[in-house]
Every structure is written in C-alpha cells, then in structure tokens.
Amino acid sequence: MNSKIKNTLFQCRAINKEFGNVKANDDISINIGNSQIHALLGENGAGKSTLVKIIYGLLQPDSGSMTFLDKEFLPKSPKDARAQGVGMVFQHFSLFEPLTAFENILLGLDKGIGEKELHESVIRLSESYGLEVNLSSFIGDLSAGERQRVEIIRALIQKPKLLIMDEPTSVLTPFECESLFKTLKKLASEGTSILYISHKLKEIADLCDTASVLRKGAIVGEYDPKKMTARELGEIMVGQPLFEPKRPVATNKRKKVLSVKINEVKPDTQFGVTLKNIDLEVYQSEILGIGGVAGNGQEELMQILTGEKKARSVIIKYLDYNVEMLNPRERREIGLAFAPEERLGHAAVGNLNLLENSLITDPKRRFQKNMGFINFSELNEFTNEIIEKFNVKTTGASALASSLSGGNLQKFVVGREIEQKPSLFIVNQPTWGVDALSAANIRQAIVEIANNGAAIILISQDLDEILEISNKVAFLTNGSLSTPTNTAEIKTDEIGAIMGGISD
C-alpha cells in the first residue's frame, strides 16, 4: 500500500481482544516496514492502547497472529518483548517517583550492567539524541518533559528494532517536540522503526510515513499523512466533521478579576523553580494563556494560584479581596476554580468515585442538605451532566476516578470545574492526553464560560492551544513571566525568540 515499505519488520494479522462485552480490538491488521515511522491514530478508547499492550506483551490477544523480524511473535511479557527487540515509552509515565532517574533506567534493563558503563551509554545517548537528564535527580522532582526523556533513554538503551511511543508529545512544547522529532527521525534513519501513537494531527503529518487509523476498535484504513490535511485526517479519526473553537470576544467595559504580583518565591525542593518577577492581570471575558517549556515554573505558579502553597511575598487580588493567604477551599468558596495538571492526587482522588469527586470540590455546598446530609439526587444529576456534556467514557458516576483513562478523567475534572460556573478559572494543561474531538470540546467550553463573563488563566505547553483561544499570551521562562501581549499582535518568530532563549 505504501511505497516506503520495502520490507516488513512487524506485522499483525486479525488481532482480536475482548474485555467483557467490549471489543477493544476487532480484527486488526497492520504492517510496519523497516526504518518506518508508523502512526497509530485514534480517539481515546479506540483500542490503540490495547493493541500496543499486546505488541509489548502486557496483554495476550484472544486470536490473531504477529510476526516480527520474520519470526512468529507472541511475547508473554514485556521482558520477553524487550528481549526480542521491542521497546516502549508509556503515556502514563511508568517511572518510580521515589527512585532516581538512574535507578529507573537501570530497572528498565533486563540484565545487570556496570554502573559506570551504564552512565557512559546514557550520556552517549543523551548527547547524540539531545535528551538531557540529571541522572541523580529523583523522578518525583522532575517535570513531565524531563520524565519523558528518562523514559525514552530507558527504552533506547536496549537498542530496540521497534520503538512504541504512546502519545509522547502530549506534555511537550513545540521546541521539545521538534527535538523529539529529530531524535525519532534520526533513530528511523539508523534503522529503528517507530510505532507512533498520537491524536495530534499536525505532528503526524510532519513525522510519520504512514498512518493507520483506528475507530471503535477496528482499523478504518491506512493513509499517507503527508498527502492529507490535518483536518481530513482528524475527521476520519473521529468519524464526523471537526470544528474549531473561537477565542472569546473581548469587550471594553470589563472588570479586572485577578491581579498577581510575585517578587520571588523559592521552591520547596532543590529541583523546583524559583518564581520571580511575575506580574499579571486578567479581566472578565478574557483568556490569558501562559506558555513555556515544561519545568519552567508552571507547577510552582499553579500552586501559588490555587493556594496549595502560600507565600507572604505574594500579592493576589481577586476582585476586592486579597486572597494570597487563603487556602484552596476558601478560594473556591469565593468563586475561583482550579484544574491542576496532575489529575490523580491534585485534581481528583483515585480511590473515590466520580460522585464523591464532585462532592469534594463543592464550594457552594450545593450538594448538602441541612445538618450535613448529602443531597444525592442533585449530586447524581450534576455528575451525570458532566459525564454526558464532556463525553466522559466511564461505566457510570459510581466508577472510581482511577478506573478512568487519563484523557477521560481530564474531561471529567475540567467539566467539574467549568460546571461550577466560576468567575475565575485557572487551568493547567486542560487537554493533556485528551483526543482531538474532546480537546476541541474542552476548549469550546472554556471559551463559553469566558464569553459569559469568567476570567481564565490557561497554562499550557501546547502552543497551538494557547494561540487558538487566548486573548493575551505570556511565557514562563526559568520562573519569570514575560509581559502579556495580545495574541493577535504576537508573531511566531517572537515566540521562538522568547522560548528559544530558555531552552538553551
């Protein structure tokens, strides 16, 4: 089908996998050629993860066969798959937070290796592929971008013939993406094939030779992404026409909702970022986009804004209140809403179900009757509304938060906050790991509440997202924030200059 496939490296034929009554993989066949970057496109729940788990030996298919390097291939475990030359970089980082980067890399290897030898090969890898990592830092102290680099090194160190990348760019900025693409192209040119899972259509056109599109567990077709527009590909993926959200219309008579002044805030850990010289204002019906490379102070700023961390040197004025010494709950009670980047642990509690997760962020006590009894009918209605409106794929409102896929939990969290109808909504990475259609929905919902008068701070490492819906943009670099500029006036090369200065 594709002229670039000279010879086949990996092939799967008629793979079937069912979970209960759900057909996660329905008769899937794909071919991956040598030195090919092959995209696997599909929405959340389309069956991409199931398929790659089968290839990586985490799951066994109900029926079907695979060949790899001209041999029958049916890995019984990831270890087995790695031994035969398949490596994988996971979407949800499979790293041990309390261990160091070095220990994590060591754990990905199947046999012991001298510490010095490993150090050397890691350094060789990071130099030739531009993957900078401080080996002695604890993963818990690293940003998402840095964590991913650790994962990539861990996979590459075993010299895989086929490398599976599960949504690798969902947390990266354009610059990090570019350097990742360079890495991947270099790898492909040196003979490694890559199975690239994503729903970011532009990067697939830029990077991949072939794209297999999955919908509802079955292959829709195989396409050449270079010959199609992102929109065409996207519509094939979701099976319906896509729309693009418009940024809110800024009117003139607006109230200032929030102003933040930060002189200097030191981080809690030695790997954190010092925030300095931050001065921002947000008005009604306005979206302020904050861009920047991961690990430049996004998390620290978010913590100051939510009240998870309080600092005396900070001035936060919300309408007429000084809120810098209020805790997150008190801030929520006066009309702020937050959606932090970490879905589990900050935004939601994994071991509570969705109803309970709605209940714990209920600043206006809508779900409480007199004497502290829970108003279950209201709570049910509210939660089910979020599930429906934001297209959260789950078994129901009583499903545990941890049972949802990352993208679906993200939809739930953002939906929950938006449905509080806040006057100020602060969100970090609203569409991380969310598929194209739902991402557009989430952005649309954010724009809608802005149009209804809410002020929004949108922290995101997805530059396209920021440019698409923000009225003003500022960039975080090394803990300080550039002066917010009107999005319409900003030029792409200026962004490059601001962000380029940082990534050096």
């Binding site: 985490l58 499979s94 261990l99 060591l106 754990l107």
Partner: protein, 310 residues
Amino acid sequence: MDLSEINFAVLVASLIVASTPLVLAALGELIVEKSGVLNLGVEGMMIIGAVAGFIVGVETGSAYIGMIAAAVAGALLSLLFAFIILIMQANQVASGLALTIFGLGIAALMGHPYTGIKSPQISTISIPILSEIPILGTMFFQHDLIVYLSLISVLTIWYFLTRMRAGLILRSVGEDHDVAHSLGYRVITIRFLAIVFGGAMAGVGGGYLSLFRVPQWTEGMTAGAGWIALALVVFSGWRPFRLLIGAYIFGGITILQLNLQAIGVNINIAVLSMAPYLATILALVVISMSRFRGNRGAPGCLGRSFVKTI
C-alpha cells in the same frame, strides 16, 4: 544503690545479646516492607521460631540445628500469610494480626511439654587477638555465632538494597507495583520471596531467644519483641544501619533497667520494666516529628494489595 556495681563492658556485651533477636526479626520485616507488604505477624512468627527451635534443639542436642528449625518454622508460618494476602488478596493488617494470634496459640500448645527443660549447651566464639583487648574484647568479640551472623546480615541487606540490582527490583515493587508490573517484574513472586525471607528471619530471632538468650522455653516468652521489631523498622526509616542502632538502643535500655532493678534503684519496678516500651514510643514520635524523616522512607505501596489491572 551503687552504680559501680554495674560492669560497663558486661553491660554492653549483654545489650548486644539482648538486641540480637530484634535485629534479626526487624531485618526480615524490613525486607518484607521494602517489597510493599506489611506483615504484622512478626510476633507470631518469632514465637513459632522460638518453640520449634527449642524443641528441635533439645531433641537433637544442637542449638544450631534448632536455629535452622526455627527459620523453617517461621518461614512455614509466613507461607500461610503469603497465601492469604497475595493469592486471596486479603487485608494485610488483619491477616498479620491473625497470624500473631495464631502463632502465639500454637506455640503455647507445642511448647507445653518442654516447659522448664534445659536447653542444649552453646559456646561463644572468641575472636583471636581481638577478644583479648581489655573491655572492648569483652564487649564485642566474645559472642556466640548468631550475634556475628546478625551483624553480617545487616551489612548484607544494606548491600543488597543499595548496591544490587535484585535489591533495586525489590524496592521498585514496594514503591509502585503497577509500574513494576508494567515493566514486566513479577510482583507476586517477589513479594512471596520477601515474605518467606521475613518469616525465616523472624523465626531465627525467636529461636535465638529460646536457645541462646534466655535460654529456655516459657509460654509467651517473646513478650512483644515482634512488635518492637516492627516499630524498629519504622524508627530506622527503612534503613538497615539505623535499624541496628535502634535495636541496640532498645536492647540497651532493656539491659540497663534490668541492672538497675538488680542493684535496687529506688524506682518502681513497673516503671523500669516499662522503660524500653516507652522509649520506643518516644523514639517513634520524635522520628515522625523531625524534619529529617524524609518522605522517601516508607515504600509507596506499603500495605496495598496488588491487583492486576491489565
């Protein structure tokens, strides 16, 4: 009261002996907890080790064969725990408590005919030259084999956990079993081995009590040593050397209060006997208050059942 009646060198030597069962049992539990399992059955496994070791020791006439039996007995009892929590995925806290109660009961039953019987002869090993150093020789170099083995164990386990790949894998399973599973490590198998090792070490600790330290069999002779061992693991912040220091502090207080009782210090005996336990509580409070506790101590998945989700 005359404090000079207390011979300092002998005091140190006996505190080492008093601490050895704790060191052994706590080291075992350290490994178990590092794998992410909380086994509250240490006391039960210790007493089973004590009784089985004593019986076999008496019957064979060799304390060392008795010690091997103690290890086997502790390991066998821990198998029961491993089955319940790993295969049946029962609650670890409840299962551990049940194990302790079960162990205490069955040990009393088995040991009844052996109450008051003399234990087999044991000899101390004086390390040549070193043992002749005045004071220090008496303190450190005239002990039985097990004391030396316990010290070697501390070193070995430290080396295993911090320098060996297998130790890293064990720790990774305890920190995040889902990630370990997704990397292809066999969580259940690794935990199983850790639990059995912990059982054997607790058994040996118990055997040391009945064959070396006391040495005879009395019902309930562990007297909470298993619980102290559990507390020591927390006290140590899951670090072998700190664990050793903790055990010696506890053993020291035990011995000191016995000596103080012997020379007739004017403090209520009940208060003196309480001292080691009070010290444990105090140490735990101080440890959890102080800043240096470090969140990296407790394994991330401690006490959580592993359920395969994929």
